[in-house]
């Protein structure tokens, strides 16, 4: 680093987050250009309204999923079952609340079921040593069937105001899903970053075998990561169910696992494991939702979303890959060879 630019003078944490912050700013700017009232926020009936509030509100389920997914991806794993777990958790909460149980019981039971699903995934990955993509595929296939077993094949609707408030209520004017997302994010950062747990997870992601030799109980740490991912999926599932006042086993959380993975990747967590940044995954989820909202506001078909997402994945893959470094390497080697040949040429001339 010969020249000290403005970028290098920034604090390290902020410098690392720069690409995501620029991307978020660009997407928000585009939204603002499409829809000038984008940043307008008004207070009505004690709750904030506005497009930007909506982005955070609608982005909440993916943001919550991306928290757990970040941990799992950091261990060099993947959890494909989160969408199905969302459906199961929603089904459990809706069925219990209709069975006459209170809101706390329904929510706690749904969370417990989510953790149970995560433990199952963790068991397969950590103890039986099955590759994560395959292990979680089982629950992804069977999970929606289990959810339909619970709802008996119907969409279970409910009217319990306490449960509906999970999605439609607000705290100090802030929509409840946003509050829950921020609380989950804070708890997760506290739990994994202020203890050694986060470090263990990163160590496993880099090399599981040497982590075991270094004394990390890899089985337990892996299981915790998957269980936490199951918990976040359950939270997202309860919000999704409360949002539509019903549990739809077929469509709740459908394809959200892909959005969650995308959010984590946009957030700069490598798919090859070894490092994770929870806050940036959250920003990644918000970027995705801001793009969705922008496409809707601009009057394009919502289906256009998929193509934009594909383009985003491809661009990130090229950026994350070693293609630029490879080209640079090849160029350097070519230069060296040129130099050597020149040298040989001059030596030959001297002899």
């Amino acid at each position: 680093m010969s020249t000290e630019s403005a970028v290098t003078r920034l604090p390290a944490a902020l410098r690392q987050a720069l690409p995501q912050i620029i991307a978020l700013a660009a997407v928000l700017l585009a939204d603002w250009l499409i829809f000038p009232d984008f940043f307008q926020i008004r207070l009505q009936d004690g709750r904030l309204f506005g497009s930007i509030v909506d982005v955070f509100n609608r982005g909440a389920p993916v943001a919550i999923l991306s928290i757990g997914m970040t941990l799992v991806i950091a261990t060099r794993g993947i959890d494909l079952s989160v969408g199905a777990v969302m459906a199961i958790a929603g089904a459990v909460a809706a069925t219990l609340i209709n069975g006459g149980h209170g809101m706390p019981v329904a929510v706690l039971a749904a969370l417990a079921v989510g953790i149970g699903c995560g433990l199952w995934n963790g068991l397969l990955v950590a103890v039986l040593d099955i590759q994560p993509i395959v292990a979680t595929l089982i629950l992804m296939v069977a999970g929606r069937g289990i959810a339909q077993l619970i709802t008996e094949g119907q969409i279970v609707t409910f009217v319990d105001p306490a449960l509906i408030a999970v999605a439609n209520g607000n705290l100090l004017g802030i929509p409840m899903p946003v509050v829950i997302t921020l609380v989950m994010l804070a708890i997760t950062i506290l739990l994994f970053r202020s203890t050694a747990l986060g470090l263990f997870i990163e160590a496993i992601g880099i090399n599981r075998l040497s982590s075991t030799y270094a004394g990390v109980n890899t089985r337990i740490v892996l299981t915790i990561a998957y269980a936490w991912c199951g918990l976040t999926a359950a939270v997202a599932g309860i919000i999704a169910a409360a949002n539509i006042k019903g549990a739809d086993a077929n469509n709740a959380g459908l394809w959200l696992e892909l959005d969650a993975i995308l959010a984590v990747v946009i957030g700069g967590t490598s798919l090859f494991g070894g490092r994770f940044r929870l806050l940036l995954s959250f920003i990644g989820a918000i970027i995705i939702q801001a793009m969705n909202t922008g496409i809707l506001l601009s009057g394009f078909k919502p289906e256009f979303n998929l193509i934009v997402k594909a383009a985003v994945i491809i661009v990130i893959l090229i950026m994350q890959s070693n293609a630029p470094a490879l080209l640079q390497n090849r160029y350097r080697r070519w230069r060296e060879r040129q130099g050597r040949e020149q040298e040989r040429g001059t030596q030959g001339g001297a002899a």
Partner: protein, 350 residues
């Protein structure tokens, strides 16, 4: 040698056992009519699963197949509606799919990215292109479709093996020959067994990787054509979740998800097992269709656990008869080391 066929044998046994149980309960299930319907109803799944077998044996995964099937269906419906002859549309769509597969294979190889994320992008792209063409269900009423759907082979007891069923059977046989009898097939096994070792042995890694994904995408397009014939329409939300059914069929069929071992015939039986479960549910009449998902999930778990057990057992055997290099290695490297050993027998026997 015999151990290599163990997963395939178990799959065949499970199928025969399941069929026997179904027959005990509903004797009519063992009839040519049901067999003919089993072939017709699962034809598209059978075709696409052959391609997936190659991908999984090579150690990859292809999540885009369902989207490519839907894309093919919509593309055919829209272009035929605009007056393109179906034959030309078939050729065009297979060409597009081949380019699509080549692009995915090239990204996987040259950018060194995990196949699942590349094919995930492919899935978004293919689905998105469907939606851009139309979001409606477009019927196809071209005379050629009517004529093709009337082709069938008469089976005993009034059963019919339709054209789409024949296409599936031909694909399975051709795929089996390609996998087990050609150099390309051997390269696929080598790639899945151990990539680095395969490269050192002189296997053309780049070409093989790209060809595998071209094959998978092309067969997905063929499955899309079959699906289009079967439903006589194109719909952009068709074949959602088919990628999972396909992967499940391949795994139930005895292909190792870690790559390096598998059979096209097994995949075919895996497809039939799934079809049988659905047929059973139809015969029963009181069970809901979501039981299919739970049973397939259970089967998936049972087979994966079984494969895992085989790997662990073979690692134990290596430990029991240690060679000087292997003795000092830790447990996890040992199970990994058993993989290339298996591949070398694979290479020799094919």
């Amino acid at each position: 040698m015999r151990k290599r066929f163990l997963p395939l044998l178990v799959t065949i046994l499970v199928f025969i056992l399941a069929y026997a149980i179904c027959t005990l309960q509903f004797p009519k299930i063992l009839s040519w009519r049901v067999v003919g319907n089993l072939m017709t109803d699962n034809a598209f799944l059978g075709v696409v699963a052959v391609g997936m077998t190659f991908v999984i044996i090579s150690g990859g995964i292809d999540l885009s197949v369902g989207a490519v099937i839907a894309f093919t269906g919509v593309f055919l419906a829209v272009t035929i509606q605009h007056g393109l002859p179906p034959e030309l549309a078939f050729i065009l769509v297979i060409g597009i799919a081949a380019i699509f597969g080549a692009a995915m294979g090239a990204m996987i190889h040259y950018l060194r990215t995990p196949p699942f994320i590349v094919t995930l992008a492919g899935m978004f792209l293919a689905r998105g292109s469907c939606f851009l063409m139309t979001t409606n269900s477009v019927p196809v009423d071209h005379p050629l479709y009517v004529r093709l759907n009337e082709i069938f082979v008469q089976l005993p007891q009034g059963g019919r093996l339709s054209l789409v069923g024949i296409i599936m059977l031909v694909t399975v046989v051709a795929g089996s020959l390609l996998l087990h009898q050609t150099r390309f097939g051997t390269n696929v096994f080598a790639l899945g067994g151990n990539r680095a070792a395969a490269a050192m042995m002189g296997v053309p890694i780049a070409r093989t990787t790209i060809l595998i994904y071209v094959l998978s995408a092309t067969l997905s397009a063929l499955a899309g054509i079959v699906y289009s014939l079967y439903t006589s329409s194109g719909y952009s939300l068709a074949a959602v979740g088919v990628e999972l059914d396909t992967i499940a069929a391949v795994v139930i069929g005895g292909t190792l998800l870690t790559g390096g071992q598998g059979f096209v015939l097994g995949t075919f039986i895996g497809v039939l097992i799934q079809g049988l479960i659905q047929t059973y549910i139809t015969f029963d009449g009181t069970l809901s269709s979501w039981w299919t998902k739970i049973v397939v999930g259970l089967l998936l778990f049972a087979f994966i656990a079984f494969h895992r057990l085989l790997v662990v057992l073979s690692a134990r055997r290596l430990q029991a008869a240690p060679s000087p290099q292997r003795r000092g290695q830790p447990a996890e490297t040992r199970s990994a080391a058993s993989q290339p050993a298996k591949t070398s027998t694979e290479v020799r026997s094919t």
